[in-house]
Amino acid sequence: MNAIFRKLAFLFRRNRFRSDLDEEMAFHREQTERDLVASGASHEAAHTAAARTLGNPTLLKEKSHEVVAFRAETIFQDLRFALRQLRKNPGFALIAVFILALGIASSVAIFAFVDAALIKPLPYKEPNRLVQLFESIPLGPRFHLSYPDYLDWKRMNKSFSSLDVFAPNGFMMKTPDGLRQTDGARVSAGFFRTLGVTPILGRDFYEGEDAAAPARTALISYSAWQKRYGGNPSVVGQRVDFDGDVYTIIGVLPRDFHFAPAEPADFWAIEKPTGGCEKNRGCHNLFGVARLKPGVTFAAAYDDVKSIALQLQRQYPNENRDQYAYMLPLTDVIVGDIRPILLTTLCGSGLLLLIAAVNVASLLLVRAESRRREISIRGALGASPRRLVRQFVTEGLLLASIGCILAVIGAREAMRLLAALIPRDMMAAMPYLHDLGLNSRVIAFACGLSIAAGVLFSLMPLARLRLGRIREGLADGARGSAGVAWRRFGANLVIIELATAMVLLAGAGLLGKSFYRLLHVDIGIQPDHIAMVRVEAPPEKYSNDTKQIALAREVVAAASALPAVASAGITTKLPIEDADWTTSFKIPGRPDTGEHKEVAIRMVTPGYMTTLRTTLAAGRYFTANDDASHQKVVIVNQAMARKYFPGEDPVGKQISFDLHKAPPMLIVGVIGNIQEGQLDAAPRGAMYLPFDQDPNSGFVILARTRQDEQTLLPALQSVLHSIDPGMAIYEPMTMDKKIHDAPSTYLHRSSAWLVGGFAITALLLGVVGLYGVIAYSVSQRTREIGVRMALGARRGSVYSMVLREAAVLTSLGVVTGAVCSIAAALAMRQLLFSVAAWDVPTLCAVAFILASAALVASFLPARRAASVNPTEALRTE
């Protein structure tokens, strides 16, 4: 304890300590000399002998100093010196810090997304034991379960500790102003217990509350509680009217709860077996969610449900034909789509960081080269090797820390920007991104990167300087061999940089091409100038077909009467969405081969296809005459025609939903495939029925306008409102925006832009790195070039000598990069759309861009080399 106080006292009397020590040691020397003289040596000989036996005075003083000083003190000295070094060379400092911050910031920003989506556990108990259950049909694997199937799966399985269902459909909520569309889902009673979530207010559904008898209840999400009820605890007991039924709110869900497969959802209402669909095994409207029993593996559980589905197929050959079980880990359902793009962009940002780090490291190397003399002098003056090493470590860490601080600030902004760029609907479906930000894991990641960079930066110059060789550095002639060695090392770094840049450029090229191909997919419609809005009419008021048909006619007429509207039409489901709304059908007159025929189904008015300008391949479009009083008709798309009527003309043929009960429908037309699923999905069979023959109280009205479609939306909504204020009129949008914001478009666009941004930055950094190496090599070889020119070399041959060096580096970089690019592209196949990983035009274009940029970068130093004045070059040495 006392020792510390004495040290502190020394700290304040530092100068005194120094002068004391100086004088004391000088005295010691004098005494040694005197003794030597006394023993018969000359004064000069005694002086040298004393100096030689006693050694370097500065080093000795340092040693004494270290005893009294705090260890941290020398670190401050090193830090001060490091700061002075950076300030003395602001250009270097700025560039190095900027490049490093750029590299780290991009990685950290992307990592924050990865963390929010893939690392942060989902807000459930043991989320990796949860699975989602689907029924798999010939159209695809991820389709709904029917309610009776759910009950059977729940009863028959031996693998799940619980199995529940949810229907993410939303509600029409009755308000004093009429119907309002409300986000929500219906769930079975054990749903939240299966997830392991407990309400923070009120109670959960009790076991059996989803039977027919108990009163209808609902839970409310935390955000909806805040937004709609101001966070008032009296929300429990409030009544809400969904789809014509009254529900009592019984509880509030935790703030961090989300369930992406049903989001956005404000209300979670109880599922009842009393609905029309619930009684029908052929009506599919539910997804299952289940928790694996302890010790049961995913594969075993999957086998279990598969055999249950097969048993149900045998038991109900009509309803359950071709209805197989499909099961995925819940985590895969929630983040499966976004995982490849996140990992790809994380790799992209990692590569960018690699280039940035290599770039800064080679800057440091050049600087270390020019500091050889400084280091040698410090060493000769008595700086211990450890102290010199520490100086470099301090400088490297200082650089990395400044970079890190800037990077964290930059990353926060970048995160905000990237999150803001996500379309609103997509963001709502990715609730796990809501608490995106600088949490402890992200900060730790940033610090880890910075420390790694700092270590790299401190080791780089050290490796070069070989501190032992102090004398070599003092003698300036030693530069020759060191210069060559450095050039070789720097050249290797540049090859890494160029190859990395090539990988990023190729990746960006392929993703860009995928995105282009995606946008130019033939979607079967002309999406420009289309305004649309969803309408849901109160079913009790529009209770029968006649009323619904009359409403639809009135809506189309009102929309068509708006100024600048060319035509208008109605559909029950829009293109570029999911593949829901399907039906099975039969072809009368053909033997039943047991094949399950299922296609998408939409009810449309005659104006729908003309408004979207679909292509008519055969037959005719619907007319106003195709109503209930006439022959039932249907239009099929080419995919359905090709699949079910191969080599035949379907027009004039008949199809039927049910050979025994429903009247057959006459195929009157074949249209080009409208993209009914996501843009990157293969075209699927679809049939279109006249709305007047199969009406509905909910639909979408579309209008083609001659003006800007965005400006039509308010007028369209207000004219609909004036028809019946009680209707829910929601989600106004334009077709172009819908395509632009569609998940598949967004995923492709964002990955293309992000990787493209990384690639361009990488190209710049790589080319600057090449420039640095060539320029340094030219500056080191000025004398050699002078000699060559003095001996008669032409400027042209000097040019080609320098350019050849650059060309060798570039081609090595490009070739290495091309091989790595193909490997990288194979790894991110999932993100490519109708482009091969080894797409030759892309690789060639990218190699060409990189090579030309490299040529430009090496041209400047080559010119400098060629304009060397031989006499001057020889004199400067």
Partner: protein, 109 residues
């Protein structure tokens, strides 16, 4: 130079012991140790002064500027009471150590 190095940890003890007789300056301490050990032990400047600073910090010695016989200013180190006690501790520990080493060496194989 053929001479054995000082046993690690013994320099402090030797300095304290030297100062136990009379206050001395740094050079005299080095000379004294050299002389008393019949030129076997040499204390280098590079270890002497750091060691003296260490002793100062522990409060085992104090330093004072005084005139030497040759009319030169020199810094004289003087043992404190704490230093005397510390000397006792170090000597007894050292003796125990030597005795132990001797026993080991005396063991007949």
């Amino acid at each position: 130079m053929g001479k054995p190095d000082l046993l690690p940890g013994t320099l402090d003890m030797l300095i304290l012991k030297t100062l136990a007789r009379a206050p001395l300056h740094g050079y005299a301490i080095a000379q004294s140790i050299k002389r008393m050990s019949d030129d076997v032990l040499t204390v280098e400047e590079g270890s002497l002064y750091p060691a003296l600073q260490r002793l100062l910090i522990h409060g085992w010695v104090t330093a004072e500027w005084k005139m030497t016989d040759t009319r030169r200013r020199a810094r004289f180190y003087k043992l404190t009471a704490a230093g005397r006690k510390q000397l006792g501790v170090e000597v007894s520990e050292f003796n125990q150590m030597i005795a132990a080493i001797t026993r080991v060496l005396a063991e007949q194989p």
